[in-house]
Structure formats: C-alpha cells, structure tokens
Subunit: 224 residues, 2 copies
DNA sequence: GATGATTAGATTATCTGACAATCTTACTTT
DNA sequence: AAAGTAAGATTGTCAGATAATCTAATCATC
C-alpha cells in the first residue's frame, strides 16, 4: 500500500500562514501588509509561489493588491463566491421544475420589499417601466431575452437585498434556455404581465402582484 | 474627480473565461480540462498568469490540479470558503438587516414546498426532529451553532429546491457571527421554536409555521 | 510661504525560461 | 499474459527581468 501522502501544496501553506498573520496581528480592512518580496523571504518561498497564494486570497477579497501601493487587508464581498456558485454540488442536474419553483419563490418573496421601497423612491418604478418599454420595441429574440433578464434582475435589485442579486445571476444562466424557447407571439403577453406587476406594486397591492408574477413565471412550465 | 479606471486584472479575465469554458462545455466534476500550456496559449497569456487564475479557482475547489494528470473540474468546497471567509473581520460589510431579510424570505418561502413533500415522505419530519433532539443536548456553543446551521439547512433541503441549497451554504457563512452571539439561555427558546415550526408543517399549517419561523429568525435583529 | 507640477522610488503585473516532482502510458521482459 | 520498467506528459516551483502604476518627496512658480 503506497500511501499517497497528499503533499501539502506550497501555496496552501502560505495562504494559511498569511491567514494567521492577519489574525495574530489583529489587522483590519485597509491595514497594510508586508510587500510580496518580504513575505516571500519570510515564508521561505519564491515570489511566484507567494503570489499564487495571495492571488487566491485576493480572489475572495481577503487581501487587496495594487501596484505601487502594496498589499492590504481587503473587504469581503460575497459576490465573488456567489458568482461561482454554479459549481456548487447542488447545482448539478437541476430540473426545470426546481428552477421555476426557485424563481417563483425568490421573485414573489421580494415583492413586499419592493412595494415598501417604491413608496419612498419613485425612480424604482420608472426604471422598471423603462425596461418594459424597451421590451416592447425588441425585434430579435436575443434582445428580448436580454431585456427580459434585465427586467427581472431589476425587480430583485429594487428589493435592496443585495445577497439575492448575485444568486439571481447564477440562476439566470441556467434559466436562459427556457427563455430562448419563447415564441414571438408570446412576447406581448409577457410584457403586459410585467406591466401589471409593477403597476400593482406601485399601488401597493402586493398580493395582486404576487399572483400575476407567479403565473407569469410558471407559464414556462408548459414549454417543457 | 480622478477617474481611476479599474484596469481588469488579467487573471480575473482568465478565471472568468475558464468559468464560461466549463459552463458552455457543460463539463461535470471529474471531467478533464486542457493543460495549462494549452489554456495559456488559447487565452493568449503566459503560464504564470494562467496559473494565478487556475490556482484561485482551485482554492475554491472549482478546478483540481494534479501533477502528471492535468486539470480537472471540481465543485465548490464550502469548507474552504467558510474557513477563510469566516475568520475575516471584513464580514461586517454585508448589512445585518439584509442578511436577516434574505434568510426570512428564503426560509419562509420554502415552507409550502416542505409541507407538501412532508405529506408524502414521513422521513423529512424525522430528520428535522432528530437534529432538534441533538440540539437539546448540545453543551458547547460551537456544537450548538453547527447543529442550528444543520437544522436550517435541512429545512431548505426538505423543499427539494437544490439551487437554494447552494445559496444557503454561502449565506450561512455570513450569518455565523449572529449565531455566535447567542447566549446559552436563548438556546432553549430557539429549540422550542424549531419544534413548533416542524410540527406545524407536519400538520399542514403552513401559515402558522411561517409566522413562527419569521419571528425566530428575526429575533437576531435585537442582538445588533 | 503656499501651491501645483514633476520626478524618483517603491511595488505589483506580467512575461520568459528552466528544472524538479509526480503521474500516466506504453513498452519490455519474463 | 502479467508484471515491472522506462519514457513522456503535466503540474510544481524557482530565478530573473521588464512594464505599469501608485506614493511621496522635490522643485519651481506665484
């Protein structure tokens, strides 16, 4: 039995040491770190190896690097992680049913928040309205799909719940194939549906918007 | 106003192209990728630059690399993400309000699905019950946090909407700090709350479960 | 003396090239 | 035919060099 001992990758060791370095120094976002060269000699590795470690951390926003300035402790934003969420084990082989149900859940769940914020900010309605107006003039399927995604994205955005934004983008990738199966005749129905949703929201009739949006999204169910 | 145009980092572009390469090729975990050298020439960058991109992705588990074998597709390693995002002081960037609202939205939105599936599958209730029973015997805060996360995760899982699972895992990382501020005296209240939720679900009283879960999650709001 | 422009230094970004470590595969030998 | 072996392929790591960019000090001008 040849125990294939997983030789610890150099950059993983470096990443871990850098983590403890930040922890033990009690460093806060914005604090400066030693330069790449100094860290490399301190950890006893070459600069490329050190860079592979720092770049991994930078990918998550844990550290930031700017030329001429050096390395600093960064601010984490979850966008980076959620952007690559499509590679989560749970995302493999997602059925169409699940996708539709998930979208209904999120988009209808967002409606009360949107309605509440709309009362204080007129521009939210205007934005959605503008997209829908453009949608009416769409001639190609590609443009229609693009604008339709933009509309629903803006709807989530209007809720102010930023974590959902990134997630929706992931979902959109998987959902695209359904949109592309939409026939031209069905466009107008979708646009009218959009309009009823945002008008109901503006008037504060959340339940009505909920019903309308639900049937709108679920109309995809027939096409599979 | 000095327009600091963020010049897109080369490795970020490469990472993104690699992501779309995997997505468009519909590659599954375990599938082989081209070699580093080939990818480098294909993307028009040097090998070190390409490596900084692949190593960033490898850090998340999205790709795996082994000498002599090459690059293969992986899936997101949540433990790794938790380990490095969980410690970071900059987690406070995502507002607590948004996190709580998002969790309420998703977990309450899931309840009708859970109730429906529970009717056809008793084991869903049993699983949740088992976790809650363990929760009662938790002695350390660390164990309590772990089990509490497991409970809410299982709740989402019971809905059968796997896309939400992926998202919840990420959210859990950011929510951890709230759980860790829970006092021991409050454990029991949480456990009873869990129990009322799943009992209501089993009985098909979705609205009651909704109310209960909503106040349960929103109880975190006071602690900030 | 204060202010603005310029320049020098520091630091990361990227590349070229090389060698070591390790796994896969095909070949050779029994 | 099976097992051991060697060659090839691929990632891991390193050294060194140049470009791009930011910071800070210096200098000229008013």
């Amino acid at each position: 039995m040849t125990e294939t001992i997983e030789r610890p990758k150099l950059r993983d060791v470096v990443a871990d040491r850098l983590k403890t370095f930040i922890l033990e120094g009690d460093l806060k976002p914005g604090d400066r770190l030693p330069t790449e060269a100094e860290l490399a000699t301190r950890f006893g590795v070459s600069r490329p190896s050190l860079r592979e470690a720092t770049k991994s951390l930078e990918f998550l926003g844990i550290v930031e690097a700017r030329p001429g300035r050096g390395l600093t402790v960064g601010s984490v934003n979850m966008d980076r992680v959620t952007e690559y969420l499509g590679f989560h084990p749970a995302m493999h082989d997602v059925s169409a049913e699940e996708l539709i149900d998930t979208r209904v859940l999120i988009e209808t769940g967002v409606l009360p928040h949107v309605a509440r914020r709309m009362k204080q900010d007129e521009s939210l309605y205007d934005k959605l309205n503008a997209i829908n107006a453009e949608l009416q003039q769409a001639r190609s399927l590609a443009r229609w799909v693009k604008l339709d995604i933009a509309f629903h994205r803006e709807l989530i955005c209007a809720s102010g719940l930023s974590p959902l934004m990134a997630f929706t983008d992931v979902l959109a990738v998987f959902f695209r194939r359904f949109r592309e199966s939409v026939k031209k005749a069905e466009w107008s129905g979708g646009i009218e549906s959009h309009q009823r949703v945002i008008d109901a929201l503006k008037a504060g009739r959340v339940q009505e918007a909920d019903r309308e949006l639900r049937t709108h999204i679920e109309s995809h169910r027939e096409r599979i």
